[in-house]
């Protein structure tokens, strides 16, 4: 699954760079909007802050067709197995962005009902802070993920 980012020879290094570049160019998110952050995620995909200029306007309903899961919102104890099941259904390579305070760490709801941070259920690559993060913050997170993939730092 994990590919070494610095290859010993020139051909595979160039190939790696090309593959990483291609992976970032049209990353399709799986729609996993849960709560308030989902509304800001929709606003990021809408007219004023346009996600489709980064190749991401298509939010695939089926996780089988998606590469990126943006967990937008608070994950309750009842939802955690569902989250894991959707993540497991996604094909490699796949990335996860924890959007918002509740997905990153449980947010302001440190209580019995929420999973305190989605990284207890799925491995997370980027955490976007905010409650909810504005479209610009989310875009910065997505672009950071893309930069990280192109630079070979985030490896799947």
């Amino acid at each position: 699954m994990a590919r070494p980012s610095s290859s010993p020879n020139l051909v595979t290094a160039v190939l790696d760079k090309a593959v990483h570049w291609a992976q970032t160019r049209s990353m399709w998110p799986a729609s996993f909007g849960l709560a308030c952050c989902a509304i800001e995620m929709m606003a990021t995909g809408a007219a004023h802050n346009d996600l489709s200029r980064f190749g991401m306007e298509v939010f695939r309903a089926s996780p089988r067709q998606a590469d990126l899961m943006i967990v937008a919102g608070r994950v309750s104890q009842k939802m955690a197995p569902v989250l894991r099941q959707v993540y497991d259904q996604m094909a490699d390579p796949k990335w996860v962005i924890a959007m918002g305070a509740c997905a990153s760490s449980g947010g302001m709801f440190n209580n019995y009902a929420l999973v305190q941070g989605v990284d207890q259920v799925v491995p997370v690559d980027i955490y976007v802070p905010g409650c909810p993060p504005g479209p610009q913050s989310l875009m910065h997170g997505i672009l950071s993920l893309q930069e990280g993939i192109k630079a070979g730092e985030i490896v799947r």
Partner: protein, 471 residues
């Protein structure tokens, strides 16, 4: 004021277990805490079975009646083919593009016809009512605002009014007018978003872009006034957090122009479109009696002829001074709900125009220093102001013991706050009556006997927000 019998005010008899200590035993028995990088916990894999909460094959007659929506009006047509092995139970959600959040529906299908519906909720349960007991009254707005996250200002308004009712404090007229203005703008923003997502679900994919585009102008104004685009924490007990920005009237003029132009577009795009009419006329019908029995309120009830709008029947925050109409139709189908919500946007614009003309000058929050913190400049000058500020932000102000119920008309229906105080600085119990909780109960009545393709249209028209349903 009536005290519940034997309750000693100011001294809730909490046992020695310290509620605030992080080491106190938490009751999370299903999913244990684990740190990433360590061994994975057991059973977190394909364990989405909800046991008795799901639709079971053999149910009691009363439960069958509630799942087929025949408890109130017995208009169910039994299908001619009723062999049990030809029925299929389909699971829709909780992760689904068209369920408006994490709603799970179990539908029993006979071919394409829906026979029974069981909504399974709780996938967004955040324990907000328990968290509310751990936050002071001033912090309560931050918690409550995230319940119905599409109309956050309505939640805050209901909560603040309930606290003020127990405190017996009056807000100045300017604060009341600002509250009216912000809640009507929130109603417009919520209906625009509903329009965007419903149109998108029904198939008019460009509605999503148009609705959210118009909504951006409102969100910009909210950000200017309250600091945040959503979940504002602006309406607090005692008034509002800050005054309106100095050029708000110009902003209102431009917002009204943008929204009215957008509305004209949507009417052309949707209401006259023959495909839209086919998909929405006669679909998802709810009768007048069903609405009353199930507690369905808001645009869904008004589409069925129930003449109930909390702003008119039990006015609050000065709504009685404004001149507006409440649209009512009688067909009770999805098309009517579209008509009503479009008209509500127009009526909200009418109220906003009246507020622009009649808003009085004055304070934006009450002068009572026990409730509202003093202005920051005064803290340097006066010892008393410093003490008040300190007490309000650390311990919180105390609210006299008692219980009250305060309702506001949110974009989805009657949003009620049942607040019980024991005389301390935190609520003893806060129960939020979310309108979507009752509206989701009415889904079996809307959907039984219709085709599966109508599920999405009917669900979209009910406008459930799962934050309200699950809290």
């Amino acid at each position: 004021m009536s005290n519940p019998p034997d309750l000693v005010p100011g001294e809730p008899d909490v046992p020695s277990e310290d509620r605030s200590s992080p080491e106190s035993e938490s009751r999370r028995s299903v999913h244990d805490l684990w740190l990433s990088g360590t061994e994975a916990p057991r059973e977190l894999g394909p364990f989405t079975d909800e046991g008795a909460q799901e639709m079971l094959a053999g149910e009691s007659p009363e439960l069958l009646a509630s799942q087929t929506g025949t408890l109130v009006d017995d208009d169910y047509e039994a299908p001619s083919r009723s062999a049990d092995d030809e029925l299929q139970i389909i699971n829709m959600g909780p992760q689904h593009p068209a369920t408006h959040g994490v709603l799970r529906l179990h539908l029993e299908l006979d071919g394409e016809t829906i026979r029974r519906v069981k909504p399974i909720i709780g996938y967004l349960h955040t324990g907000m009512e328990k968290t509310a007991e751990a936050l002071t009254f001033m912090q309560g707005s931050t918690n409550v605002t995230r319940m119905d996250y599409l109309s956050p200002l309505h939640n805050e308004l209901g909560y603040s009014l309930a606290v003020e009712k127990l405190l017996e404090v009056e807000v100045p007229p300017r604060a009341a007018a600002i509250r009216v203005l912000m809640s009507e703008l929130n109603r417009i923003a919520s209906h625009l978003l509903w329009c965007a997502t419903s149109g998108f679900d029904i198939g008019a994919l460009s509605m999503m872009i148009y609705g959210l585009r118009e909504r951006e102008s409102l969100l910009e104004f909210f950000e200017k006034t309250t600091g945040l685009r959503m979940n504002h924490n602006y309406i607090r007990p005692g008034g509002v957090a800050a005054d309106l920005p100095p050029d708000w009237r110009e902003d209102m003029v431009s917002i009204i122009a943008i929204v009215e132009a957008g509305l004209a577009d949507y009417v052309t795009l949707l209401l006259g479109n023959p495909i839209f009419i086919e998909r929405t006329r006669g679909v998802g019908i709810l009768t007048h009696d069903e609405c009353l029995a199930y507690g369905v309120t808001g645009p869904v009830a008004r589409a069925s002829g129930v003449d109930y709008d909390v702003r008119k029947v039990f006015p609050y925050s000065g709504f009685e001074q404004y001149d507006f109409e409440v649209p009512i139709t009688t067909n009770g189908d999805v098309y009517d709900r579209f008509l009503i919500r479009f008209e509500e946007i127009r009526q909200s614009i009418r109220i906003v125009k009246q507020v622009m003309e009649t808003i009085p000058e004055g304070d934006y929050r009450t002068e009572d220093r026990k409730v509202t913190p003093p202005p920051r400049a005064r803290i340097d000058e006066s010892m008393e102001a410093l003490i008040h500020h300190f007490k309000i932000f650390t311990e919180g102000f105390k609210v006299p013991a008692g219980e009250t119920y305060q309702a506001v008309e949110s974009s989805r229906g009657e949003l009620g706050m049942y607040l019980v105080s024991d005389g301390g600085s935190k609520p003893w119990r806060l129960h939020v009556r979310g309108p979507s909780f009752a509206n989701v109960q009415s889904l079996p009545m809307m959907l039984a006997d219709s085709l599966i393709a109508d599920t999405v249209a009917a669900l979209a028209s009910a406008d459930p927000v799962m934050g309200d349903v699950d809290r």
